[in-house]
């Protein structure tokens, strides 16, 4: 008996590498949050396509309809396509969802005290309000710029 080094036989439950997140609603929500990155990727590729089309345009010796055809195609054929519009709506919704979930988490990474001598932390809602204001402000600025340069 004393010669045996160990009677252990630990059991390692199998790890579900692909489906672990399905077991718990908290994880499902987390994966959806992370999944919004796919739509963000789509938005990035879409904008890159636009820039590429712009680059393809030939504006020498002067701006002509034939010269800016690639960009026109982008604006009028590609972006106007109902599938693309639907995808862009999805992009908006998922990115809003992402913004909401991230803003909810951000206060955890901000730990400042009310003032120099206080032991009270800045309340979570302050960070959240600041972030939402920032988001709204940025949106207003971008939309205004788009409208004014129409």
């Amino acid at each position: 008996m004393s010669e045996v080094k160990s009677f252990r036989k630990p059991y390692n439950p199998p790890v579900k590498k692909m489906s672990w997140w399905l077991e718990n609603p908290f994880f499902v929500l987390y994966m959806v949050r992370e999944g919004t990155a796919v739509f963000a990727l789509f938005a990035v590729l879409e904008i890159l396509l636009g820039i590429f089309c712009l680059a393809l345009c030939d504006v020498t010796p002067a701006v002509s309809l034939k010269g800016i055809a690639p960009y026109v195609w982008y604006l009028q054929s590609f972006l106007a396509n109902p599938v693309v519009i639907a995808l862009n709506v999805l992009v908006l919704l998922t990115q809003l969802f992402h913004a909401v979930t991230w803003f909810a988490l951000m206060p955890k990474a901000v730990r400042v005290f009310m003032n120099k001598n206080s032991t009270e932390l800045l309340p979570d809602y302050v960070t959240k309000i600041a972030l939402y204001l920032g988001l709204i402000g940025a949106t207003v600025v971008v939309l205004a710029a788009a409208y004014l340069t129409k």
């Binding site: 008996m1 004393s2 080094k5 160990s6 009677f7 252990r8 036989k9």
Partner: protein, 602 residues
């Protein structure tokens, strides 16, 4: 069996064990320390202590005052020279912990704060909110990690001491995870295994507080001293018995009986102090034994609340306000809410006395050495001589670090003066312990371990409770004797070697039963009332009083070879400067103090 050589083997990795290990490591990094514990260090019951640790820091305080509070609190059964040493070393150990990162609560200027505590004349209790034990233990554990000379044996259950030529030379233990036995030879062994509150049915203690070290020392002929002195903490939650720290009362909490009356003023602790303005040594800030005894008397008079789970009185903290309560006493707010469904901010909490601390333990001198060379003991499992017949709150957390350090230093010196031990005899003893443990699997009996455990607990509550009588103590003696016969017939269903808790619990129950016997035999032998040992009997009620003439002595419980009961002897108490006097609190104490000053002025 695998064999290890260590310079110092420490059994128990709570406050005392960890402090001792660090002390040895700092004294000499070349000394090999084996730190053995049946649980991971941060699970040790030190973690549950709440109130604080006492050490003189204020200008209006003095070592003399702390000394006098402690000796009077112990009803003069303290080894006064040891108390002197203790109060002197307490503050530096507390500062040491602070340097190591302990989050002691602070004053606005950044210095350590202290609070009032029961039986202390001047506030001197350092506290970390109401989780002082938790923070002390985690600080010690995390600090210990930086010393490579400390080798830990986590989840190793000690089965026996190895003793040769009358000297302690190691331990044999069981690795619960791997399921194998290990022999650890050592020049010195330090027992820091905690108290034995689990002898009783209702207690504030965790499941691991089973008196292991006490039983091991006892079985090898080292006496257990003052075992009859068991502390009932006055404010345990009704039902589960979890601790509502004395800090509640230090911060101003008050106790009411069912008539809304602050009954403590009827028991020599008055006059009544205004709610929210506690006064040291008055009312709710009296010593623990007096408060528990007051409850017992109120219960006899029918003045306690009667709940489905039992009787209780009310601990009222509502006047302290939410902000203050959540800052100073967050843990007890959580406990009361979680386990009793009561929010202390809004309503009084039902509480009752519950077994909490073992004043007695393995007899040691002021340096934690037992009468067996090579064997040391410290912390709650030891009786080093500072608590006497009743411990003051916040003296035991600081006891762990003071005597952890003293013990560690003493053992480092002993180790430097001795060579390694190893012999055929030690190996034989280790193998014998292994066989005894494995033989338990072959017992074909039908006794139930849980029944024996519950009967022991119930019997101790009835016979060796807050107030004791010859008849009920004798009944407990007989019950325990019967249980000792029955425990050898417990058959185990679990024959596994890995984490066999049924088997471990059975061996633990054996330890607890031995310690319980020492408690009741010491109690029936002490024919007086002192501190937490109060009797209602005696010819013409003689035992209701303190009897300094015959019993200003320690009780020593010895294991007799072949006998199934301990033999009780008495030993002298070292009195240096503080002669025994009447133990007074409240207004009586002030009057006595004034009289003393007047006498000195003459």
């Amino acid at each position: 069996m695998e064999k290890y050589q260590a310079d110092v083997a420490i059994v128990g990795a709570g406050g005392t064990g960890l402090r001792a290990a660090i002390a040895v490591a700092q004294a000499d990094p070349k000394l090999r320390v084996a730190l053995i514990s049946k649980v991971y260090p941060m699970r040790s019951h030190t973690v549950a202590a709440e109130g604080g640790a006492a050490g003189v820091v204020r200008d209006d305080d003095s070592y003399q005052k702390h000394f006098e509070d402690t000796v009077a609190g112990g009803d003069w059964l303290c080894e006064q020279d040891v108390v002197e040493k203790f109060v002197h070393q307490a503050p530096e150990e507390l500062y040491q912990l602070e340097h190591w990162g302990c989050p002691w609560s602070r004053k606005p200027n950044g210095d350590v704060n202290v609070r009032r505590f029961g039986g202390m004349k001047v506030p001197r209790t350092w506290f970390a909110a109401d989780k002082s034990g938790f923070h002390m233990l985690h600080t010690l554990y995390q600090t210990s990690v930086q010393f490579p000379s400390i080798q830990r044996f986590d989840e190793h259950f000690v089965l026996d001491l190895l003793v040769e030529d009358g000297e302690c030379r190691g331990v044999v233990c069981y690795d619960l995870q791997n399921g194998v036995f290990r022999q650890i030879n050592a020049k010195t062994v330090f027992l820091a295994t905690g108290g034995a509150g689990r002898c009783y049915l209702f207690n504030t203690n965790g499941g691991i507080v089973t008196g292991d070290g006490m039983a091991l020392a006892y079985r090898h002929g080292v006496p257990l001293r003052d075992m009859e002195f068991v502390q009932y903490h006055p404010t345990g939650l009704l039902g589960c018995g979890l601790l509502m720290t004395e800090g509640c009362r230090g911060e101003g909490g008050v106790l009411y009986n069912k008539d809304g009356y602050r009954y403590l003023q009827d028991y020599g602790l008055g006059p009544e102090t205004p709610v929210g303005s506690p006064k040291n040594k008055y009312m709710e800030l009296g010593p623990r034994d007096r408060l528990s005894q007051a409850f017992w008397n109120e219960s006899k008079k029918g003045r306690t609340f009667k709940y489905p789970l039992g009787e209780a009185v009310h601990l009222d903290l509502t006047h302290l306000g939410e902000k203050y309560l959540h800052e100073r006493l967050p843990l007890i707010c959580e406990l009361a809410m979680t386990y009793s469904g009561v929010d202390p901010v809004k309503a009084p909490v039902p509480v009752r006395p519950v077994v909490h601390y073992t004043m007695g333990g393995i007899e040691t001198d002021g340096n934690t050495a037992t009468r067996m060379p090579g064997l040391y003991a410290g912390g709650e499992c030891a009786s080093v001589g500072i608590h006497g017949a009743n411990r003051l709150g916040s003296n035991s957390l600081v006891e762990t670090i003071v005597f952890g350090k003293i013990g560690g230093d003493a053992m480092a010196e002993y180790a430097h003066n001795h060579k390694d031990f190893d012999s055929a005899e030690l190996t034989r003893q280790a193998e014998a312990a292994e066989k005894r443990a494995l033989d338990l699997f072959d017992v074909k009996g039908t006794e139930s371990m849980s029944k024996i455990r519950n009967e022991m607990g119930q019997s101790m509550e009835e016979g060796v409770g807050i107030y004791r009588e010859e008849e009920s103590m004798q009944k407990t003696i007989d019950t325990l004797k019967g249980l000792q016969k029955r425990i050898v017939n417990v058959g185990l269903t679990d024959r596994g070697r890995v984490f066999n808790t049924e088997w471990m619990n059975l061996i633990e129950l054996g330890y607890t039963l031995d310690v319980a016997q020492c408690m009741v035999h010491s109690a029936i032998n002490r024919k007086e009332s002192r501190g937490s040992h109060q009797r209602l009997d005696g010819p013409n009620g003689a035992y209701k009083q303190r009897d300094d003439e015959n019993f200003l002595k320690h009780s020593l419980a010895f294991k007799l070879e072949g006998a199934d009961e301990p033999r009780i002897e008495l030993s002298d108490v070292k009195i240096t400067t503080f002669q025994p006097a009447k133990r007074v609190y409240g207004a009586e104490a002030e009057a006595a103090e004034a009289a003393k000053k007047a006498k000195e002025a003459k």
